[in-house]
């Protein structure tokens, strides 16, 4: 599997994403600068977490206009897998590649902790190595992860099986609508999620449940 991790100004989980992918798949991803006009020919594009452009104005808003995004939009349209984690998820919604938006946490504070998630949809490139209803633990670390969309959009996401992950009952760290933690696009080749699977790939760090996501991708995309 060939993979690229995009580096925006003040991305800060780019190295973590790189290492998790390298660790699970054995191949180092290419690091691609936001100012480039083209992503190399890869099977998976990762938009990592961080504070692109300081999260100023709105999280992900400025990164969504980076030069590289034009090509990402095109490649996503052609079916290349795109994974947006945390700030990457915010960028994907700002870029219109995923519906809805991420608002400030209901508790109005940044929150960092491991949270329990329920895999709500295992029929996707990203989640096929999980089973539906499986519980996994990924850390969250964000100030604006409160997923919001109109009721129609939420109904549609649910009806089409596009809610990939939900926070387990009582675990919602940010007030997100219908406990949504991660969603797929219509063609199911784009996933955005607030929790960090790349921080859950090493037993020393408390959870390895993120590995299955990278393994799913590896098996499907190789």
């Amino acid at each position: 599997m060939k993979c690229a991790v995009i580096v925006f100004p003040a991305s800060n989980c780019d190295r973590d994403a790189h290492d998790a992918i390298m660790h699970v798949t054995g191949t180092p991803p290419q690091m691609v600068w936001h100012g480039d006009s083209e992503v190399p020919d890869v099977d998976l594009i990762v938009l990592p977490g961080g504070f692109s452009y300081g999260d100023y104005l709105r999280c992900g808003a400025m990164a969504a206009h980076s030069r590289i995004m034009t090509d990402i939009r095109r490649k996503a349209g052609e079916g290349v897998a795109v994974l947006g984690i945390c700030n990457g998820f915010q960028i994907l919604t700002e870029a219109g590649l995923l519906p809805g938006t991420l608002m400030r946490n209901a508790g109005l504070k940044f929150v960092c902790r491991p949270v329990e998630l329920v895999v709500d949809e295992s029929q996707s490139l990203f989640t096929r190595n999980y089973s539906r209803g499986e519980r996994v633990t990924f850390p969250v670390a964000h100030g604006e992860g409160n997923y919001f969309a109109s009721d129609d959009v939420l109904d549609r996401l649910e009806a089409e099986g596009r809610v990939a992950f939900r926070y387990a009952e009582g675990e919602n760290p940010n007030g997100s609508a219908r406990n949504i933690a991660g969603i797929l696009n219509e063609k199911r080749n784009v996933l955005g999620l607030m929790p960090h699977p790349e921080r859950a790939c090493d037993p020393l760090l408390g959870s390895v449940s993120g590995r299955a996501m990278f393994q799913s991708l590896l098996e499907k995309l190789s």
């Binding site: 104005l57 400025m62 919604t93 938006t101 608002m103 109005l108 409160n146 007030g175």
Partner: protein, 80 residues
Amino acid sequence: MRARVFVTLKPGVLDPQGKAIGHALNSLGFKSVGDVRQGKVIDLELAETDREKASASLRDMCEKLLANTVIEKYDIELRS
């Protein structure tokens, strides 16, 4: 030319922060405070003298960057 852009949440979109401010004000003793909503104000200097052109350009900025039209609306005020 100077311009001020207001970016506020659309009616109906929940504003947890505004609500929290309202609560905080009530508990500080400002009992007359009802609904509170918070938005952004962006002040810009523009090297543009034509008001029409400035307006059009500001609208464009709002659509492209300054507002997230999924949840926000914007208003533009030209000054001087």
